[in-house]
């Protein structure tokens, strides 16, 4: 327990250190740009944080809206993508028929379809969610499929020999066996997801106010660089938040993975 606590403390300290480095680098770049261009280009950390403090309500509201939107998109893409990906990876017949389909659709950027998504779903909340869901959905499907393909046969035999139904097989073997990989993949996909969120909020939210999401806020304050940049910082924090959330989820749901690793050291 003590070592778990101290490792958490270390983790937090490392992130604080990284934050310091980022802010320091940011300040350096500001100074560099002033020197090169002869005028301020990028708002300094001080200016940005002041602007953030002065506009905290709208910023917080935008952050909350974006966070909720991202959370819903993440949950929906897991609910849709996980069962499909696991089934494709585990059931050999589905694999032969559906894998080509997935791999044809997977590299297609949903951004390229914005026009059609807009025509199909209008400009409401749904379309913004759909853009993010499509991006994350394929990430989850491909990760789940890859992991489910290589399940240890003796684990399957262990539950099958006890008379497990298909559903029990998924519940006791396929899902827990693949969860670490799927969660890791989801964590890696947070960056892509945030990019898609930004695009959805800017391209598909032109008539909305700045509180309708961080992407919208950044665009709305194009002529107030400091507030706009505060929105960018908000997006970065949003990514970090979900990254940490998925990491925590993995640590609590896949405890066995970390126990074994600690012994291995």
């Amino acid at each position: 327990m003590r070592s778990a606590l101290s490792s958490t403390v270390r983790w937090v300290l490392l992130y604080l250190l990284a934050l310091g480095v980022v802010i320091g680098g940011w300040g350096g770049i500001c100074a560099l740009l002033v020197w090169v261009r002869g005028r301020p280009v990028l708002p300094t950390p001080g200016e940005t944080f002041t602007a953030a403090w002065e506009n905290l309500p709208v910023l917080a509201q935008a952050f909350g809206t974006s966070a909720l939107r991202f959370l819903i998109a993440l949950v929906v893409s897991f609910l849709l993508g996980l069962p499909l990906g696991l089934a494709i990876g585990f059931e050999r017949r589905l694999d032969t028929f559906l894998s080509p389909l997935i791999y044809i659709l997977y590299p297609m950027p949903p951004v390229a379809l914005l026009l059609f998504l807009y025509l199909a779903f209008g400009l409401g909340e749904v379309v913004r969610l759909v853009v993010v869901v499509i991006a994350l959905f394929f990430q989850v499907v491909v990760a789940a499929q890859g992991a489910a393909k290589y399940i240890t046969p003796s684990h399957v035999a262990a539950v099958r020999s006890a008379g497990a139904t298909r559903l029990q097989l998924y519940r006791h073997v396929v899902l827990p066996a693949t969860l670490p990989n799927v969660l890791t993949a989801a964590r890696v996909s947070v960056g892509l997801g945030i990019t898609m969120l930004y695009i959805a909020e800017t391209k598909l939210g032109v008539l909305l106010g700045p509180e309708a999401g961080l992407g919208r806020l950044i665009e709305y304050y194009t002529f107030r660089g400091d507030i706009s940049l505060a929105g960018v910082v908000g997006l970065a924090l949003l990514g970090l938040l979900f990254y940490a959330l998925l990491e925590l989820l993995e640590r609590s749901l896949c405890r066995w993975k970390f126990v074994g690793a600690q012994r291995g050291r």
Binding site: S154, A157, A158, V159, S161, A162, A164, H172, P176
Partner: protein, 246 residues
């Protein structure tokens, strides 16, 4: 009671067909413990898979207590090679797994008891990754015994263990067999293990498996048997039979 009648097992079809058993016949009486030895890859695991209802024979029949095996039976338990523990489940959850899958209620006490019998009390909440190899095998045995099976199929339960741990688990299986009274089929490639645990020892041929010889082993049944002249003679005999057939 186990009957294998002219059993043939084949994987795949056409030119890539692999035959794992051909015309194999074997009878194991109720409460008997029979050891099976044979060269590696001859089809021993495949025969157990048929008996466990996980694999269909291509010809012939496998019967348990007079009924043809057509699928998983609740009175049959299988101990897999390398135990087949699920790394994401604790010792207790692994031991309970088969009972839970079969929806047997009130299994808590039975799981506790069988874990106690196998010396695993106190390790219930550990994950397999935290256990020694010998403990993992014991959890695998616990999982099968929790079902209180009439027939216990064991696939090399002591393979790749150090000799001290191996003897310990061999003694444990002997004790459990005498206490719990099951019909046992134990696959091994260790001659001494076969002589220690088999009332009779069936020697399989190289692939496709057939029964080459059945060695009677009436002296078996006590821990002291190991190392006696009779024991050594049986081991030497088995070595000779297997050496000649492979």
């Amino acid at each position: 009671m186990i009957e294998l009648a002219e059993l043939s097992i084949a994987y795949g079809r056409g030119p890539s067909k692999v035959s794992a058993a051909e015309g194999l016949s074997l009878f194991v009486d109720s409460y008997e413990l029979v050891a099976v030895v044979g060269p590696s890859g001859c089809g021993k695991t495949s025969v157990l898979m048929v008996l466990a209802g996980l694999l269909r024979p291509s010809q012939g029949q496998a019967r348990i207590y007079g009924e043809e095996v057509r699928g998983i039976r609740r009175d049959v338990a299988l101990i897999l090679q390398d135990a087949g523990l699920l790394p994401w489940k604790t010792v207790w959850q692994n031991a309970e797994l088969a009972l839970r899958i079969q929806g047997q209620k009130d299994s808590r006490e039975r799981v506790d008891e069988v874990l106690h019998q196998l010396g695993l009390t106190g390790f219930e909440s550990r994950f397999p990754g935290e256990l020694s190899e010998g403990m993992k095998r014991r959890v695998g045995i616990a999982r099968a015994l929790a079902l209180q099976p009439r027939v216990l199929l064991m696939d090399e339960p002591m393979a790749n263990l150090d000799s001290l741990t191996r003897e310990h688990i061999q003694n444990l299986i002997l004790t459990l067999w005498r206490e719990m009274g099951f019909t046992g089929l134990l696959v091994t490639h260790d001659m001494e293990e076969a002589v220690f645990l088999g009332q009779r020892i069936a020697v399989f041929s190289p692939r496709p498996a057939r029964v080459v010889e059945i060695v009677d082993n009436p002296g078996m049944g006590t821990v002291e048997y190991r190392g006696t002249p009779e024991f050594m003679a049986k081991v030497a005999h088995l070595r000779e039979v297997l050496g000649g057939s492979s």
